[in-house]
C-alpha cells in the first residue's frame, strides 16, 4: 500500500466536497491545502471534508483546517468535517481538541444538512 493521499473533489448544491483517501501528513498536506484554495478561488466558501476513507492524519493535516476555517467563517463560509471512520483519525481529532471545537458530522448528508441549516 502506498502511503499517499488521494483527493476526490465534487460539488453538491454549490457546496464543495473534498473526500480524502489515504494518508494526510506533512508530505501530503500541501495537496490538501491546494485543493481547498482552488475551491475558495472558484468562489465556493462552504466546504465539506469527507474523511470516510482517510487512514491517517497528523497535525500537518489539522494545520490545513486551521489555516482556512477562521478566514472562511469571517465571510459567512465554513468547513465541516464528516465521516471520520479510522480509529486513529478519530483519536487525533479528539486528542487535539478539534472534535470539541469544530464538531464532526456523522456523514456527508449530515454535513450538507448543516450548511442548509446555516444558510437558511
Amino acid at each position: 500500500m502506498v502511503r499517499n493521499l488521494v483527493l476526490h473533489i465534487s460539488q453538491i448544491d454549490g457546496i464543495a466536497v473534498i473526500a480524502l483517501e489515504g494518508f494526510l501528513d506533512a508530505h501530503t498536506a500541501p495537496q490538501f491545502e491546494e485543493a481547498i484554495q482552488s475551491e475558495i478561488d472558484a468562489g465556493r466558501r462552504n466546504i465539506v471534508v469527507d474523511c470516510a476513507r482517510l487512514l491517517y492524519i497528523s497535525s500537518a493535516g489539522l494545520g490545513v483546517f486551521m489555516g482556512f476555517i477562521g478566514e472562511l467563517r469571517e465571510t459567512g463560509g465554513d468547513i465541516k468535517i464528516c465521516g471520520v471512520a479510522a480509529p486513529r483519525v478519530l483519536q487525533l481529532f479528539e486528542v487535539s481538541g478539534f472534535k470539541d471545537l469544530f464538531g464532526l458530522a456523522a456523514d456527508l448528508p449530515a454535513a450538507v444538512a448543516l450548511f442548509r441549516e446555516k444558510d437558511k
Binding site: 501528513d25 506533512a26 508530505h27 497528523s58 494545520g63 490545513v64 489555516g67 476555517i69 471545537l101
Partner: protein, 161 residues
Amino acid sequence: MNDFGRCFELRVRSSTENLALIRDFVGNVARQGGLSESDLSLVELAVDEAGANVMEHAYGGDPTREVVVRVRLDADAITIEMLDTGRGFDPAAVEQKDLQKLVAEGARGGLGMRLMKRAMDEVQYRSVPGGRNELRMVKKLGKPPGPETTEEDRKSGGKGV
C-alpha cells in the same frame, strides 16, 4: 542507548516523503513490544510530528540531510530518540497558544509539540551546540497517556519540552 539489546535504528534523508517510512518502522517495533493499537497510533503520531519538525524546522525544508531514529524496547517502555544535525531550538521559548487562538490567527501549525507530549509519557529535547539535536520520547507500556509534565522531567537532567 548504548547496548544493543533490543535497539533498532533507522537512517533516512530529511524528505517528508520518508515520514511514512519512519512511522511504519516505529510502528513495527512497537508491535514487537506488544503495545495496544491505541498506544501504537499515539507513538506513530509522536514520531511523525517529531520527524516533520526536524525536516521543516531543524533542516528548513532541505530534503537531503539525515534523520536518525532509534528505538529501544524494554520490558516496561518503548523509547524513541530522533537525532538531527540541523538548527537547534529552545522548547521553553516557544509560545504555547491554545487551539482557539491558533485558529483565530489562521496558523498553519503550532500543535506538533503539544501532541507529542499528549501522546507520550516523557518528551525531552537536548541541543548540543554545534553538534546534534536529540529528541527523546518514552511511552510506558500498558499505561494511559501521561500528564504534560512528568515526574521524570522534573528530576532528570534532560530538559522537558
